[in-house]
């Protein structure tokens, strides 16, 4: 298998942790709340899913448990940020540290253990194509994740719920004047962000690399946070960015497969370096951020 077809076959799976977490954060940020705790929520979801699958509860049960656990953690954040009106940055960091701590605590007895992954489901015909064939042979979660992406895009763009979420983020006072409960909608959006981060962590720990190691999320939550900025809060661009980062993070394995002798620490740093470069390039365009950005992002909403 050539390095290129290896990357093409694997990039969707590698993208999944970024994609799921970034889509959840996108919804939360669209409602005007900045949750910096994604890394911790993913870490908690990862350990919960791993434990459930390891106790042979099955992947479906593992994902549900992970989603619920991370959504619960996100709700604690939402309570701090929305009900108590604490500093959103500090609250997000606190939740992140708490999630990572809980992950290490629960995962201690599972260090270096493995669980079975998921089988690939291929689309007949397409998956036999040369070079691109691998793209059409993915596990069930990737297919579901792509469907969920479509659903989130359509909801934000066409449904009344999506309109209300965006209105709450753009101008909470106007949304309130129209009779919408700003705080309740933001609670929901933040909890949804937690749910998706939980799924993202579950995918990372029980499907993508089904082996438990403390700190296995390794900054992917932070990259997901950056992806939302790269994508200038647009769903389609989140998908593009996530797949790009999936491909970048595969480069280490691809380089080995292709026999390229590159420093492994440099390759491991590549996603972080790319994040810094892209963040600089996108953020420098202030007009783009202003047009597409969320007007009330990070600001508390009082009565």
């Amino acid at each position: 298998m050539s390095a290129l077809s290896f990357i093409i076959a694997g990039m969707l799976a590698a993208a999944m942790p970024f994609l799921l977490a970034a889509l959840g954060e996108l919804v939360a940020e669209r409602s005007g709340v900045l949750n910096l705790g994604i890394e911790g929520m993913m870490a908690l979801g990862a350990v919960v899913a791993f434990i459930v699958v390891r106790q042979s509860g099955g992947h479906a049960m593992g994902f549900v448990a992970a989603g619920l656990a991370s959504a619960a953690l996100a709700t604690v954040f939402a309570w701090l940020a929305l009900a108590v009106r604490a500093n959103q940055v500090a609250a997000g960091l606190a939740i992140g540290i708490l999630g990572q701590g809980l992950s290490a605590l629960f995962g201690k007895r599972y260090e270096s253990l493995t669980v079975p992954g998921l089988p690939k489901l291929s689309i007949p015909g397409l998956s036999e194509l040369p070079l691109l064939g691998g793209l059409f042979s993915q596990d069930a979660v990737v297919w579901l994740g792509l469907l969920a992406t479509l659903a989130i895009w359509a909801t934000l763009r066409f449904s009344k719920l999506g309109l209300v979420i965006r209105a709450v983020g753009e101008n909470p006072h106007a949304a309130r004047a129209l009779g919408y409960n700003v705080i309740a909608i933001r609670y929901g959006a933040v909890a949804f962000g937690g749910l998706m981060a939980g799924f993202a962590g579950a995918y990372a720990a029980t499907v993508y690399t089904p082996l438990w190691a403390e700190g296995m999320i390794a900054g992917r939550g932070w990259i997901a946070l950056a992806l939302v900025v790269f994508a200038t809060w647009m769903t389609g661009r989140v998908v593009f960015g996530a797949v790009l980062f999936g491909a970048v993070s595969l480069s280490q394995l691809a380089a080995q497969a292709g026999g390229v002798a590159l420093n492994s620490q440099l390759l491991a740093s590549l996603p972080y370096i790319v994040t810094i470069l892209v963040l600089g390039a996108i953020s420098a365009n202030k007009r783009l951020l202003k047009i597409n950005g969320v007007a009330s992002l990070g600001e508390p909403f009082g009565r």
């Binding site: 604690v76 701090l80 108590v84 009106r85 605590l105 740093s269 972080y272 810094i276």
Partner: protein
Amino acid sequence: MGIRMIRRTTASRRMAVLAPMGALALAIVLNFLLYIVMGNDPAAVFYALLLEPFVSWSSFSEVLLKMTPLLLIAQGLAIGFRAKVINIGAEGQFILGAIFASAIPVWFPQATGGWIWPLMLLLGGVGGALWAALPAFWRVRLNASEILVTLMMSLIAGQLLAYLLVGPWKDPMGFNFPQTVMFQWDAMVPTLIPGTRVNVALILALLWTALAYVYMQKSFQGYQLVVGGLAPHATAYAGFSEGRAVWLSLLIGGFAAGLAGAAEVAGPMGQLQRGIASGYGYAAIIVAYLGGLHPVGILFSSLFMAALYIGGDNAMVSAGLPVAAVRVFQGSLLCCYLAAIVLVRYRLVRDGQEVTA
């Protein structure tokens, strides 16, 4: 019947003292419920975690040793946080400080002289500041969030450390362990209190605290930084640029973290090794917030967090408490604090109750 939050006309001084104590009490209750669920003996954990660090001089001296890097880093970070420059990459700046300081003993293992350790500390500070300079540039020139860039720089710093330790800086006689040579005597920060590991860096951290107090509470520039954080437009009118605040905040924070990293390799570590990246940079964020971003408050919060580390080690040995429990305690303590501290600026009023400002 609901409860409403009413903004106080002036911040409550009584609450400013009571709220952190209430938060601590709540965090203790929540975490001990967790320990009971996990099957640990709560009384044994309570003694080992919260009391034992203070009962003997030898363990208290270890608390002072742990407090040193936390105090240095948190004072630097708090200056930025008050100016709304959120540097969460102190871990990377700390690692770079350790690497820069290690360059002297690694490249000149035979060098002697009393100038070596002070130069190492200075180099460490410079290394940390350089690592923070890129996020500052990215924020000022490219408008990129310093939150994300400082964090990414930390992750890169971890890889750089790993590279040096398995590659060019690995001790050739070290049985292939990822670590450098042990540093020579003159590359070590002198011990302050005989019979303990407390070293001169503690004095530096206390001096740094005094400096931070004068800078933030008494100097005009410090005042501009704080006001700039609260009301950016007002300070922009007064001719104080946001860019300058970003540069100052990140360079000060980076220098302090780098100094702490240098003091760690030239102190308790005695060599550059993977263990240097032990999360002080992240813990210091909690220390800074728990101290109310105030130099005096941070003095107390760094002492408490250091005691929590030592207590955590004790509780692991004597009561079987997992090390990660300390991180859970730290995270939940900050959550409780953020919830409680709101009472300083707001009061709670029952619906229907008459409101008098």
